[in-house]
């Protein structure tokens, strides 16, 4: 394995980890709300969360690129308040990955919360535990299978996703050039041997990591009574 690809792998890992963490932070409250509050437009919002999936990633990436451009509101906002540009930077591909990954994290978590009996939350409340404590110490540990599914799906998706990242990130080595783009490049260049090598490495590493993630799940099972 050459040094270049090694660096690419490190960058990929960084992107996948940061994206997964950010998605956890964003999705937990959203999934909680979707699971426990009943309002009229819920199906709308659930559908909306899936929408990043229905456009082809490159096209989605194109729209993000336009949004990030210094001529548009979002771009101006970032330029003015954070003095940063999102297009062609690591930050930019993180934002893109997070948007693309939303459905893979929110959906399993929401299902997890929905399938817990109400009495778990109620019991905790009557013990004087706040919503916060209840959330972390009662709800989260009991939706572990869903949590693991969410993490695994987001993580895997983030590694393989390249349409959006390629468009928004622009294939800058060390900054936005992640493993999937490197492999894509090699396939495009008809360097099949190198592409195969890269693919196998990415495949094996991902496979080991995903197996580890799923092993945590081992024989976990809720039986309420």
């Amino acid at each position: 394995m050459d040094l270049d690809f090694f660096n690419t792998l490190i960058l990929t890992a960084k992107l996948a980890i940061i994206t997964t963490l950010l998605l956890l932070i964003i999705s937990l409250p959203v999934a909680y709300q979707l699971a426990y509050s009943h309002f009229k437009g819920k199906a709308f919002i659930e559908a909306l969360i899936c929408m990043p999936m229905v456009l082809p990633p490159t096209v989605m990436g194109y729209y993000l690129l336009v949004a990030f451009s210094p001529h548009n509101a979002l771009g101006i906002f970032f330029e003015k308040y954070f003095n940063t540009r999102l297009a062609f930077t690591f930050k930019g591909i993180v934002v893109a990955s997070v948007i693309a990954g939303l459905p893979f994290m929110i959906q399993p978590l929401q299902n997890g919360f929905t399938s817990l009996p109400n009495s778990f939350r109620e019991a905790s409340y009557t013990m004087g535990k706040s919503k916060w404590v209840t959330f972390w110490r009662v709800l989260i540990p009991n939706i572990k299978p869903s949590l693991i599914t969410g993490i695994a799906l987001t993580f895997a998706h983030c590694i393989g996703e390249f349409g959006i990242v390629l468009m928004v990130g622009g294939n800058v080595p060390g900054q936005t050039r992640i493993a999937s783009i490197a492999i894509y490049d090699q396939v495009q260049a008809l360097n099949y041997e190198v592409a195969n090598q890269y693919s196998i490495i990415l495949f094996i590493i991902s496979f080991i990591l995903l197996t580890l993630i799923y092993s945590i799940n081992k024989s976990f099972r809720i039986n309420t009574l």
Binding site: E122, A123, Y125, T126, M127, K129, P141, N142, K144, I222
Partner: protein, 218 residues
């Protein structure tokens, strides 16, 4: 003094009906709640705990108004300072027996009490057991221990001993009475067992056709 004056819609086997509860319960009573299946016993406990919001009315715990429909007051369960034992136990499957009991323990209280309860409730050998591997009666004991460990001034126990054998049931009745006296709490116990009611109750709250009647015994 707990003052209850609420109205709430319920669905019974005879169709829609109204639960209309008026009662004043002096402090330190051990109130047994009795009534037919579906009469509204669990609903009343849930209303007292703040888990179900009644349609109309007012509830006062001493001087504190915990619920008032006209003034839109509705204290959350956390602020009502109660202990609630669910008819379906609501034990947390991610924690073992001991951890379930410890979880309920208020942070500022000493830990001894929990250990004592585990012994009294004959759970010593099951401390590390997962909830899903308990028998029905064992679960009920854990649930009861978990409520008592809270040392709450108001205890709401929904059929706390229904799945436990005679011998242990009598022991645990004594435990509830003892803890009731020790903590000077106001305790509500739903029960279908006449002997149990006669033994434990200082007063009985009969719920019938949606109305409540309070009868003092001792």
């Amino acid at each position: 003094m707990i003052e209850i004056d609420i109205k709430h819609h319920i669905q019974t086997s005879e169709g829609k009906s109204i639960l209309d509860i008026k009662a004043k319960i002096p402090e330190n009573q051990l109130v047994c709640i009795s009534g037919k299946s579906g009469a509204g016993k669990t609903t009343l406990l849930r209303i007292l705990a703040g888990l179900t919001k009644p349609m109309f009315g007012q509830i006062k715990f001493g001087d504190i108004i915990v619920f008032d429909s006209t003034e839109k007051i509705n204290l959350s369960p956390q602020k009502r300072n109660i202990g609630f034992m669910f008819q379906d136990y609501a034990l947390f499957p991610n924690l073992n027996v001991e951890e379930n009991i410890f979880f309920a323990q208020p942070l500022n209280k000493e830990g001894e009490w929990a250990g004592k309860l585990i012994k009294i409730f004959d759970l010593e050998g099951l401390k590390k057991q997962k909830i899903e591997k308990l028998s029905g009666g064992q679960k009920q004991r854990v649930a009861l221990a978990r409520v008592l460990v809270q040392k709450a001034p108001i205890l709401l126990l929904d059929e706390p001993l229904s799945a436990i054998d005679r011998e242990m049931r009598i022991e645990l009745q004594d435990e509830i009475i003892k803890s009731h006296h020790l903590l000077h709490s106001t305790t509500f116990v739903v029960s279908h067992d006449e002997d149990e009611i006669n033994k434990m109750a200082s007063c009985i709250l009969y719920i019938k056709n949606g109305k409540a009647e309070l009868v003092y015994i001792k």
